[in-house]
């Protein structure tokens, strides 16, 4: 579980995060949603310790991140898996080498043990014949799946995903969403996903935090988001006619 209390972050005079307090539950897919510029990415980078913040605390299963020494911070980060928006795969390595990288860095496994583990996670993300390809030879969806495989290969306790569906076709996006949710359940990971893909919100949003102008405007789940009367949330989530109709049908069905 990750707990955030009164998080404040500024860049110069610009106050980006304004006293955010929330928690992300273990074994659940926790989504951070909001418009561009609402502070989602800054929030995620604060959670990851890539940005320092002025005020507030972030604790990982009771351990307050800011109180840790640099070495302890690095040790904690070894338990974190991250899927970047652009996948951030290492260009100079093959797909198998990318996935093996955290094992090489943080474990004392033999080469054959590492290869077995890489085979297993690549199979888990449905990529069992792409070992020798370079990231540049893989499609966007494949790259995302490799990034997920790399993120989970060392059995992380926390998984962060920054817009995992961006640039993907709807079908592949659903595959990626389902994969993240399955992995979260299977390995009891605390997963935090930064997204503005409304399909993801409806499909896998077990806990949803809506940010607006650096403030936590709303908190709920994929079920409660249909019923909320918070206009900021409804304006954002149901901005398209299709989603407005879906919401109306859902409400008619549940109320009827």
């Amino acid at each position: 579980m990750i707990e955030v209390i009164n998080l404040n972050k500024s860049f110069g005079d610009a106050h980006i995060l304004k006293g955010i307090t929330t928690s992300f539950d273990k074994g659940k897919t926790n989504l951070i949603i909001g418009q561009s510029g609402s502070g989602k990415t800054v929030f995620l980078k604060c959670l990851l310790g890539l940005f320092d913040y002025e005020e507030g605390t972030i604790s990982y299963d009771g351990t307050i991140f800011s109180l840790l020494s640099e070495d302890d911070k690095r040790n904690l980060r070894a338990k974190i898996g991250m899927v970047f928006q652009g996948s951030a795969l290492f260009d100079s390595m093959t797909i198998a080498e990318n996935v093996m990288f955290p094992l090489k860095m943080f474990t004392k496994q033999s080469k054959s043990e590492m290869e077995d583990r890489v085979d297993f996670v690549l199979k888990r993300v449905n990529l069992d014949d792409a070992h020798k390809k370079k990231p540049s030879e893989a499609s966007g969806g494949m790259q995302k799946r490799v990034a997920i495989a790399r993120a989970i290969v060392n059995n992380p306790r926390y998984l962060f995903c920054d817009e995992p569906n961006s640039g993907l076709d709807p079908k592949t996006a659903i595959v990626i969403d389902n994969l993240i949710q399955e992995i979260t359940k299977e390995y009891e990971i605390t997963t935090v996903i930064n997204s503005h893909d409304m399909n993801s919100v409806m499909e896998i949003g077990e806990k949803i935090i809506f940010l607006k102008n650096g403030l936590k405007e709303w908190e709920g789940s994929k079920d409660t988001i249909f019923k909320t009367d918070n206009t900021s949330v409804t304006d954002f989530v149901y901005s398209s006619n299709l989603f407005k109709k879906v919401r109306k049908m859902y409400l008619d069905e549940t109320q009827g």
Binding site: E70, D71, K73, R74, A78, I80
Partner: protein, 245 residues
């Protein structure tokens, strides 16, 4: 003010580069890869330039010695001194600032732009140690490149001298042996080691701390070449003043 901030950040980067070392089994492979990219990959161009510039130095020296009282072997002597003291260590370092420096800046800069450095940091890896330290270690073999440049420069001079008819082979060989001071080689290698450190760290600094996208990677490469060259020239002056005067 910005310059002072950058100088401070540069020295902090060097300190962080030695902190929390990467696992040796991984680091060994990175060093070998960088030796291949930075040292072995530079031998061709360095050899080519050294050979022909050695020839040009000899021709120009010979053409400027028109007084019959000056012995012919002086052509070899002047070529050796020019190549050992200045051309090989300094001129080749400037060329390497263009070749190796821009490679380092653009490769690290691209990793910054595509979030690969963030990925390393999130995994708990000291990205400066992982990326910059192997380059620093591999460039400690830079004196090997400079030795080859010295040798081929003198050979190039010999070929130009003998086949150009400026002096005989015996005169040229006598010239390159005349008044040989071994400390000049030491001086050249001290400069080379210092320049190697500069070649590894200044381009890495510009790549690592760059902001923006693909266009900024190009700009950072150019800036890194300019600053590496400026620092090499200034240090060349200071080291010459300290070691030879």
């Amino acid at each position: 003010m910005n310059y002072l901030q950058n100088i401070g950040a540069y020295f902090l980067m060097i300190a962080k580069m030695f902190h929390k070392p990467t696992k040796w089994s991984v680091m060994k492979q990175l060093i070998l890869k960088d030796i291949d990219d930075l040292i072995i990959g530079s031998l061709g161009i360095v050899s080519f330039i050294a050979f022909f510039v050695g020839g040009v130095v000899t021709i120009q020296t010979a053409l400027n010695i028109s007084n019959p009282l000056i012995p012919k072997y002086l052509v070899g002597f002047a070529t050796r001194q020019s190549i050992v003291l200045e051309f090989a260590p300094t001129f080749i370092s400037i060329i390497m600032a263009g070749k190796v420096g821009s490679f380092i800046t653009s490769s690290i800069g691209t990793m910054r732009v595509t979030e690969q450095i963030d990925a390393l940091e999130v995994m708990g890896i000291n990205s400066l140690n992982y990326l910059v330290f192997p380059k620093f270690v591999s460039l400690m073999l830079f004196p090997f490149v400079i030795s080859i440049a010295m040798f081929l420069g003198i050979i190039g001079g010999m070929v130009a001298c003998v086949y150009g008819g400026f002096a005989t082979l015996e005169d040229y060989i006598l010239g390159i042996q005349t008044d040989f001071i071994p400390f000049h080689i030491t001086y050249a290698f001290i400069k080379t080691i210092v320049f190697a450190f500069i070649l590894a760290t200044i381009p890495s600094f510009h790549g690592f701390y760059m902001k923006g996208g693909a266009l900024e990677v190009g700009k950072a490469s150019t800036t890194s070449f300019v600053w590496t060259s400026v620092v090499v020239i200034i240090l060349n002056y200071l080291l010459t003043q300290m070691l030879l005067s």
